[in-house]
């Protein structure tokens, strides 16, 4: 049954994604892309569990640590670039 619940969650999220994203105006499409890029680094969570459960085996330690580093890079870089762009959007007089 777990699997079917996950599918349910997937279906709802896809729908939600389409409804939300289709409302973002072209004005913000570049920040939108980099925001989506940042959150796609959510696999960091999986990497954390992998790296945190490691103790001895060299090869898997390397795999897991690299996974943490790369996904963190994705998340941190993505969020800060988005922030950098968004803070430039100003209305007259702001």
């Amino acid at each position: 049954m777990d699997f079917i619940y996950l599918l349910f969650i997937l279906a709802l999220s896809v729908f939600l994604g389409f409804v939300i994203i289709s409302r973002v105006p072209p004005l913000l499409h570049t920040p939108l892309m980099s925001e989506a890029n940042a959150i796609s680094g959510i696999t960091l969570i999986g990497a954390l569990i992998a790296a945190g459960s490691e103790t001895d085996h060299t090869f898997t330690v390397i795999l897991a640590t690299a996974a943490v580093a790369f996904t963190t890079y994705n998340v941190v870089g993505g969020y800060f670039i988005t922030e950098k762009m968004l803070k430039m959007f100003k209305k007259k007089g702001q």
């Binding site: 969650i9 997937l10 999220s13 939600l16 994604g17 389409f18 939300i20 994203i21 973002v24 105006p25 004005l27 913000l28 499409h29 920040p31 939108l32 892309m33 980099s34 925001e35 989506a36 890029n37 940042a38 959150i39 796609s40 959510i42 696999t43 960091l44 969570i45 999986g46 990497a47 569990i49 945190g52 459960s53 490691e54 103790t55 090869f59 898997t60 897991a64 690299a66 996974a67 943490v68 580093a69 996904t71 963190t72 890079y73 998340v75 941190v76 870089g77 993505g78 969020y79 800060f80 670039i81 988005t82 762009m85 968004l86 803070k87 430039m88 959007f89 100003k90 209305k91 007259k92």
Partner: protein, 461 residues
């Protein structure tokens, strides 16, 4: 309460924060708050994950986070606004690689014969690999470290089909008994990485934005499949949101270019540069900066149409100066932004925002077109295809049907570019030969700066 339940409860909150964050990107007023909400969602998810029972040691976690975080901050602070496309491509690539490694780790540590787990593993490796190398190539092309042109070699199609076929066949073998097929697994890893290169090298540099957004949806897919591998709901929700984002942006861009996604990804867009009826070719009028200044001084309503060339010339600050002077002179100045102007969707808006141009001066094509006949001067800066009237009238043109900004309906049109050369689509532009069009040749930044000095000189006099 069981710690696993608590963690999942917090994950729900994280997901809601991510969704809210994206929703708030729907308006420039709330967008920044949205980004911060999204960051908090991420922070929450990371922190509670570290509380979970599986996490017993922290040294490797710390090492990875410090290295990745420092590199991320470095990239983000160094990236210029004109470099957004390649920077996003780079981040994408490493995200894809990271996800792939998570799945590899999962397979290495807990190999299983259950199809419910091993199918997602296979998909994650495949898509993650393609995302990684594909993004790297896109990064290279966009940052001009690789040649921007479409790269093809003889027999390329056969190689592509062979690699894809091998991936599918190996996939079936792998899935038949995942526990005992580690070598095949490694072959899949390698072939996926090769596949990513093969898919992106034949695509031209100007089509990279579409590639990035397709890769964006791949990154979402990988997050989803990884979610199924490690049974993690947040990954599934976020993956779905990101996937939807990539698909929507790709579709929007393709529509604005009047091409199909398949044509962009596999077609290689062969421009048919047939200057039809070259015999009766009219002369384009060229105008000096001084004369242009006189026309602009008298204008009450000005529309500025920036294009790819403005980004190339890095003329965004010069254009802001000119627009301010025009406004001081009593003219109403509006910017008309075409959806595919610039190097990626919405890129023109970011560049103009960087130059401190208020976002309520930026108008979408559909808003500005109906008012175009009341405009005194339309200044086209480094744009070409997006103002080509052939898209409206000439059925034989390859860009026929692409929505354009109707500058030809304005009373006067100035076109700022360096030559009579064609734009990305390689099509002649009738606009340049119109009665009411004047070309102002030269680098966009220099021309704009000259116009600015004319205005300043006249104010001083």
């Amino acid at each position: 309460m069981d710690i696993a339940i608590f963690i999942n409860f917090i994950y729900i909150i994280s997901c809601v924060l991510f969704a809210f964050g994206l929703k708030m990107l729907g308006s420039p007023v709330t967008a920044r708050k949205g980004n911060i909400l999204s960051m908090s969602g991420m922070l929450l998810a990371v922190v509670v994950t570290l509380l979970s029972r599986e996490v017993i040691s922290f040294q490797w976690v710390a090492l990875g986070v410090v290295m990745g975080g420092a590199a991320g901050l470095f990239t983000a602070t160094r990236a210029k606004m004109t470099q957004m496309p390649e920077t996003i491509a780079l981040l994408h690539g490493f995200g894809g690689l990271g996800s792939m490694l998570v799945d590899w780790h999962a397979y290495h540590v807990h190999p299983t014969n259950s199809l419910i787990v091993s199918i997602p593993i296979y998909l994650s490796i495949f898509i993650g690999g393609v995302t990684f190398t594909g993004s790297c190539i896109a990064w290279g092309k966009l940052s001009e470290r690789l040649p921007g042109k479409s790269i093809k070699f003889p027999g390329m199609q056969f190689v592509n089909i062979a690699v894809l076929g091998a991936l599918l066949v190996l996939g079936f073998i792998f899935l038949s008994d995942p526990l005992h097929h580690y070598p095949i697994f490694l072959a899949i890893v390698v072939l996926s990485l090769i596949m990513g290169v093969l898919l992106v090298i034949p695509i031209g540099g100007a089509d990279m934005p579409v590639v990035i957004s397709v890769l964006n949806s791949y990154a979402g897919l990988v997050a989803c499949t990884t979610g199924f591998v490690i049974h993690n709901t947040v990954l599934i929700v976020v993956g779905a949101l990101v996937g939807a984002n990539g698909i929507i942006l790709s579709i929007i861009m393709c529509k604005a270019m009047n091409r199909s996604l398949a044509n962009v990804l596999f077609g290689g867009f062969a421009p048919t540069v047939k200057a039809k009826a070259a015999g009766e070719k009219k002369e384009a009028k060229s105008m000096s900066v001084e004369d242009a200044f006189l026309v602009l001084e008298a204008a009450k309503s000005v529309v500025i149409v920036p294009g790819y060339g403005l980004a190339v010339a890095q003329a965004q600050h010069a254009v802001r100066e000119l627009s301010e002077l025009l406004e001081k002179n009593g003219a109403e100045v509006r910017f008309a932004i075409h959806p595919v102007a610039g190097r990626m969707p919405g890129h023109m808006n970011v560049l103009l925002a960087e130059a401190n141009i208020s976002y309520d001066q930026l108008y979408e094509m559909d808003v500005i077109n109906p008012t175009m006949d009341t405009v005194d001067v339309a200044i086209v800066i480094g744009a070409n295809d997006v103002v080509n009237p052939a898209a409206r009238s000439d059925k034989s043109s390859p860009i026929y049907g692409m929505p354009i900004i109707d500058v030809d309906k304005a009373k006067t049109v100035f076109v700022l570019k360096r030559s009579m050369a064609t734009g990305f689509a390689g099509v002649e532009n009738e606009l340049f030969y119109n009665e009411n069009t004047a070309m102002i040749f030269g680098d966009a930044k220099q021309t704009l700066q000259s116009l600015v000095s004319e205005f300043k000189a006249s104010a001083a006099a």
